[in-house]
């Protein structure tokens, strides 16, 4: 079956003083949850802002829902209506109240349901046992509650694509688990519902991640379905005396007094034949960290 893509972008470029985002090709698979992974300053937020139309000063072409161009994003109401976006900070004005946000959402989005918004606010226990409090100001909310508010807001809309910038970071472990559940429910709530989120909390979000894109220094350095990535890479552990033999073969490696642990491409595993090694399937966290390590400026 051919995979369809909800966003198809080519030659995306954005130059800053000391940084350039350069993405020759970007495809977001439809009907899946995709994680955007990368170290701080890798360009994740810039890419998300470009895709959502928050940032317009870039080069490149973007196609949405296999139908609309990047110009349509600001010319045809349906495009932004179908995309739900949650940011980090700078999302709501600090003096806005929850009630104002509900009112503003009703004006801004044709398919916003206030009753759903209140339900999500209560389900996420945003205001404690007292329930929905529309007089609560944004600047009185904790970072975690602000994220919950953004989530309640986008989930109360009828959208086809959710784009979320670091939704898990300010959340506690319980709420991260709930976030995974919400993402899964969203994906299952209709055909071709798609979620795209950036995250540093790879382990917490792994259960909900179908597809992963890893960025480093403004470039996509690895991407693929998680199951495919887990077949592409393999964790290798071995004794200290074999370190020099495996070093050129392993993708990345860390060593201790007892031995080494690294990751290598599965296709290179044959080259390690005869050595006393143990292999295991890597987690997405391990793949991501090692791919980032390989491409990072951090030494």
């Amino acid at each position: 079956m051919d995979q369809s893509y909800v966003i198809n972008a080519t030659n995306i470029k954005k130059h800053f003083k000391n940084f350039t985002l350069d993405v020759p090709e970007f495809k977001l698979p439809q009907g899946f949850a995709t994680a955007l992974i990368g170290e701080n300053g890798a360009g994740k937020t810039t890419l998300l802002n470009i895709l959502t139309g928050i940032r317009l000063d870039y080069e490149g072409q973007i196609r949405y829902f296999d139908k609309y161009s990047e110009a349509d994003l600001n010319n045809i109401p349906d495009v932004k209506e179908r995309i739900g976006y949650t940011g980090t900070d700078n999302y709501y004005l600090p003096h806005w109240t929850v009630g104002q946000i509900e009112d503003i959402s009703s004006i801004l989005f044709d398919r916003f349901h206030p009753d759903k918004f209140r339900k999500y606010c209560n389900d996420l226990a945003m205001f404690g046992p007292a329930g929905f409090d529309k007089s609560k100001k944004v600047n009185a909310l904790s970072d975690g509650t602000k994220t919950k508010l953004m989530l309640a807001n986008v989930l109360a809309r009828d959208t086809d694509l959710l784009i979320m910038d670091e939704p898990a970071s300010p959340l506690d472990p319980l709420m991260r688990d709930k976030l995974c559940e919400l993402i899964r429910d969203y994906i299952n709530s209709g055909e071709n519902k798609t979620v795209f989120f950036s995250t540093h909390n790879i382990s917490d979000m792994e259960s909900v991640t179908d597809y992963a894109i890893i960025m480093e220094q403004g470039k996509i350095v690895e991407q693929g379905f998680v199951e495919d990535l887990k077949e592409k890479y393999i964790v290798v552990k071995g004794e200290k005396e074999d370190i020099e033999k495996v070093r050129p073969i392993l993708y990345t490696m860390s060593q201790s007094n007892y031995g080494f642990e690294g990751i290598c491409l599965s296709k290179d595993l044959d080259k390690l034949a005869g050595l006393d090694i143990v292999t295991e399937t890597p987690s997405l966290f391990k793949i991501s960290v090692n791919v980032m390590k390989k491409n990072s400026l951090i030494r």
């Binding site: 800053f16 802002n49 959502t52 139309g53 928050i54 940032r55 317009l56 000063d57 600001n74 045809i76 109401p77 495009v79 932004k80 209506e81 995309i83 739900g84 976006y85 940011g87 700078n90 999302y91 709501y92 004005l93 600090p94 003096h95 806005w96 109240t97 104002q100 946000i101 009112d103 503003i104 009703s106 004006i107 801004l108 989005f109 807001n153």
Partner: protein, 221 residues
Amino acid sequence: MKKTAYLAFTSFSYRLFCLLMTVAFLVGSLLANVYVGKIAAILLATIMPVMYVFLDFFAFSGTSSRKQRTMNFLKSSYHGTAFFRSALKTDIILKNLFLLSGYLGFIIAEIIYYTDFKSFEESMLMILVYLPITQITTMLTLFISRRLSLTLLAQVSVCYLCSMVSTLLFVIYSFLLPEEMNSVATFVIITFVVLEIIAITLAVVVYKDCAKGYDSSFADT
């Protein structure tokens, strides 16, 4: 029923305070005219801009700053730009109406306690100059405060300074008035028209500057 952009963008407490202040200025200026006299108009011209600019901090502070990155929520909607512009436009119009209402109390007092035409004419001519000066002071300070994302204290300080300067200018202006009453009326009406054009232009500038601030937040430049 959906609220208007202005009603949704501004909080209930902001609107309530604006309304209460307007009523207070209306009644206050009426009583001040009766018990203090025409000189109270100077006080009104100084206090009104300070109070409205003070309140503005709680709704539109920093919205025209070129560094503002605070409204990604609005930017994620197709209607975001139109929504923000509509709220801004309504606010600027209302602020000017509120300023007008402050002097309305003054005019009402003149009508109620009418003694002679000369005194009435003097008061009206005075208001014709004070009103646009108050508008100009308010718009000018709004332009500065919204652009620079000032703190509340800095915002009020700038406005107070502007009010003092405008009052000083009015005092200087009063010395320039001709001796003859007929000439004074003509002079004042011409001044009013000129100042009002400046005030309206400034209001448009404040609105456009805020809208431009929002538009520029889609890019770094």
